[in-house]
């Protein structure tokens, strides 16, 4: 039976299993743990990270990385905030489109340098991470956006309850994030040109030989990641209202962690955005649960989280290798039996 399930599905199942295990573990440690409030908290905080991790996944699939993504979120959140502060009459959809477009512009910069100037992405985005952040400081003049200046529709948007199931509230921000992730997932698995992302990451030489325009594919990945970070910036503004120059700081590494925990291969070629979403949920869940766990002091939280990331990735690597070996040996056995028959 096990050999019938594709490895990617198996990965997702394993992640869900770990998710349930973590839930069960903490429910024995923290009183009053499993309830609707836990879901509501995680769902509102994961909404932003899900979008960023989704974009990061697109980039990682092509054997690249985007370290500037946190700075993009911060800049877009601030720029969108100052735009709506000065012209409060802008309709919501136009404002969201502005955020997405602005994010995509940052992606164009990254994509150009990585795909066409052939500078390694880790260097390009390390540079643009600092550049975009400095641009934010300059642009903001070290002032902050505050909730008071924002229109009410914007501040209320993330917490609008669209529907509830039992005590689980489905709020607008979370629902939007989930819909985006699902849309990207369907695109990746069903729309033909999206296969090229996997092809380029899986075997760049073979991709080139198959007539795939690798440069364009990589460029596109960075622009999409920028656009998704732009949308995340919009959501960040709506959720927190108060935007300072440190907005989105550290999101780049958190998004890489979410993708990797979610089974996206850091060397490109395999992984899914659903995995990255579950990775983001898992990290958030563990992070939040550790706060409420008496046994672990505040100072050890990062360490526990770091160990969990290492553990999950190492376990994944080892298990997958075993699985592949096991399948190959099984197939050999099958082949032998066939010959005998």
């Amino acid at each position: 039976m096990l050999s019938r399930i594709p490895p990617q599905t198996l990965r997702i199942l394993a992640l869900l299993f770990v998710l349930v295990a973590v839930l069960l573990f903490f429910s024995t440690q923290v009183p009053n743990y499993l309830n609707g409030r836990l879901f509501n908290r995680i769902s509102s905080s994961v909404a932003i990270m899900a979008l960023i991790a989704c974009g990061q996944t697109l980039v990682i699939l092509t054997r690249n990385i985007d370290l500037s993504i946190g700075s993009v979120v911060g800049f877009v959140a601030f720029a969108t905030g100052s735009l709506i502060t000065h012209s409060p009459d802008i309709p919501p959809l136009v404002l969201a489109a502005y955020s997405i477009l602005l994010g995509a512009c940052f992606g164009v910069v990254n994509g150009f340098f990585v795909a066409y100037a052939r500078v390694p992405s880790i260097i390009v985005t390390l540079g643009t991470m600092a550049l975009f952040r400095s641009a934010l400081v300059e642009y903001s003049d070290a002032k902050s956006i505050t909730t008071n200046n924002l229109p009410t529709w914007l501040v209320e948007f993330p917490n609008t309850q669209l529907f509830t199931i039992g005590t689980f509230q489905f709020r607008a921000a979370f629902v939007v994030a989930i819909l985006v992730v699902i849309a990207v997932h369907i695109t990746l698995s069903r729309v033909r040109p999206a296969r090229k992302l996997y092809a380029v990451g899986s075997n760049p030489e073979a991709a080139e030989m198959s007539g795939i325009n690798s440069k364009l594919v990589i460029f596109f990945a960075f622009v999409s990641a920028g656009a998704l970070a732009g949308l995340a910036g919009f959501m960040f503004l709506a959720r927190f209202g108060t935007i300072t120059v440190v907005a989105g700081l550290g999101f780049e590494l958190k998004s890489v962690a979410a993708a990797v925990v979610g089974g996206v291969n850091i060397f490109g070629g395999s992984g899914s955005v659903i995995g990255a979403l579950i990775g983001a949920v898992l990290i958030d869940l563990i992070d939040m649960s550790l706060v409420r766990w008496q046994l672990v002091s505040e100072f050890w939280r990062e360490a526990v989280l770091g160990s969990l990331i290492l553990l999950s990735v190492a376990a994944d690597a080892i298990l997958m290798r075993r699985l592949v070996k096991w399948r190959v040996s099984r197939e050999k056995k099958d082949a032998k039996l066939e010959v005998q028959a």
Binding site: R190, R192, R195, E205, A207, S210, G211, N265, G269, V328
Partner: protein, 500 residues
């Protein structure tokens, strides 16, 4: 009646001053398996690269379906239906079989229908004549299956000329048989198949016509029925070409320095047994895929063997790291200068001292710069390395001079056993002679040399004895007096085997 599909008319190709092909003419007919044979470096890969548009010919014309054409690049070649597959298959390891086959196929629109795609993949796989589940992920496939995927991809793009370059070199006998059947199936369906292989028995099994090339020139094209293996080999090595090096007198002494018995690395080579005497040059001859380098790496501790005994200077040894082998007195001069030989951006002096760095340290552990420079200058003079100074990065030197720097770093060690792996590949004839002199001076002083070379005149000029390998097996050890180019090739291609 076979239709000519692709015709090369008197194609020549120069790389700078180096001639790779001269006046090469080949005609490929539909429904025919056309074998091309020749020694390593005869120009086979250049022909493929010209057919697939990777290289443009310096002169000569190409005809496609009787019309003069220019194959502008790989994309144009693919559109014309010319596809090459190599020993290392070009697949996407993370995608499944069907996705691999249809990666650049847009015929059924923007949306993929995986089940539909798998059905189409199955049909293609059936046409090839093998069994393969189209939903399997490519990384789990065997090499032969991956090649089948590549062939299926070619079929999906209406291949008309399929070039197979040493496709069976890394396959097991059973898999190779499968692949040959595929080639014949396709020819039966009207594809022109170009088959390049070192396994002569394969060529007799599947090809309709054979073209022999040598030193970039066309020697003959004949129907397979008119060819014998001895005749083919004679044509491959050629007669009466300039003997550019004379064999020098042997300096072999009685003492055995290296004793190898039944050395085996599972799945790579097996039962390699030989003695190497002090002052002797033992050449290892063979074709691509003979696994000579693997034997060298096993002796040098890079890939520890699975079984067998190695006695070095009378002691049974088992090196598991290169460091251990170096300390015992073994030097390995790699065939791959760039990857395993030199630190290209570093200065000559730093490359020269790298193996024996401890000798260049002061008691405090600091590098003695002057001593390092002096050692480097010594080698620059004695080996005639052409460079402005010893501070020049090795990457700036010509191939021959780089090779000498690589030799210098090992000469510093003063090893008892030198393993030279293709030490003269790609360097000019003057530098070649200098490298040969150096090997002789090493053995004259009592060192021993294991010399891996694919250059038959070099093997005959240098080897006191010649060990011929073929696909991981030791075929024979020939004395210099009984070795000729023909006899070596007969063993290397598996047409003769001695019981040892």
């Amino acid at each position: 009646m076979p239709q000519p599909i692709l015709r090369l008319n008197s194609i020549s190709k120069y790389f700078g001053m180096t001639k790779a092909l001269s006046a090469m003419s080949i005609t490929l007919n539909s429904g025919e398996v056309h074998a091309i044979v020749g020694e390593n470096g005869a120009g086979k890969s250049t022909i493929i690269k010209i057919m697939t548009g990777i290289h443009q010919p310096t002169s000569g014309t190409i005809e496609l379906d009787g019309k003069a054409s220019i194959i502008t690049g790989p994309q144009a070649a693919r559109e014309a239906g010319i596809v090459a597959i190599y020993q290392e298959p070009m697949v996407f390891p993370d995608l499944d079989v069907a996705e691999n086959i249809f990666i650049s196929d847009n015929s059924d629109g923007l949306l993929m229908r995986p089940s539909e795609q798998r059905k189409r993949a199955s049909a293609l796989i059936k046409r090839i004549g093998i069994k393969l589940d189209p939903s399997r992920i490519a990384s789990g496939l065997t090499l032969a299956e991956q090649q089948a995927v590549e062939i299926a991809r070619a079929l999906s793009q209406d291949v008309r000329v399929l070039i197979m370059d040493e496709p069976t070199a890394s396959l097991s006998a059973h898999e190779a048989g499968q692949l040959r059947k595929i080639a014949q199936n396709l020819a039966g369906q009207g594809v022109a198949v170009v088959y390049i292989s070192h396994r002569l028995e394969e060529i007799f099994e599947i090809s309709d016509r054979v073209t022999v090339i040598r030193d970039g020139s066309h020697i003959s094209t004949k129907p397979i029925a008119e060819v014998t293996s001895d005749g083919m080999i004679t044509e491959m090595v050629g007669r009466g070409f300039s003997k550019y090096f004379e064999k020098a007198a042997s300096t072999t002494r009685d003492e055995v320095i290296l004793e190898v018995r039944n050395l085996t690395l599972e799945g790579v080579f097996e039962n390699i047994s030989f003695d190497l005497h002090r002052g002797e040059v033992l050449c290892m001859a063979g074709l691509v895929g003979a696994r000579r380098t693997d034997v060298a790496l096993a002796l040098f501790g890079v890939m520890p063997p699975t079984s067998g005994v190695v006695k070095f200077k009378g002691q049974t040894t088992k090196f598991t790291t290169p460091r251990a082998a170096i300390e015992a007195g073994i030097a390995y001069v790699s065939e791959d200068r760039r990857k395993l030989g030199l630190a290209m951006p570093m200065a000559i002096k730093s490359n020269v001292s790298i193996v024996t760095l401890d000798d260049f340290l002061s008691p405090l552990g600091l590098l003695k710069g002057e001593k390092e420079r002096k050692a480097a200058r010594h080698f620059v003079d004695s080996l005639n390395i052409r460079t402005p100074d010893v501070e020049t990065p090795v990457g700036m030197l010509s191939g021959g001079n780089q090779q000498k720097v690589m030799l210098a770093k090992w000469l510093n060690l003063n090893p008892d056993l030198f393993i030279f792996d293709e030490p003269t590949r790609g360097i000019d004839i003057g530098a070649k002679a200098e490298v040969h002199d150096l090997i002789r001076s090493v053995t004259a002083k009592g060192g021993s040399a294991l010399l891996i070379s694919s250059d038959l005149p070099e093997v005959l000029a240098m080897g006191d004895r010649i060990l011929v390998m073929r696909e991981g097996h030791q075929m024979s050890i020939l004395k210099h007096s009984e070795a000729t180019q023909e006899s070596i090739m007969l063993h290397a291609t598996g047409q003769r085997q001695e019981t040892i």
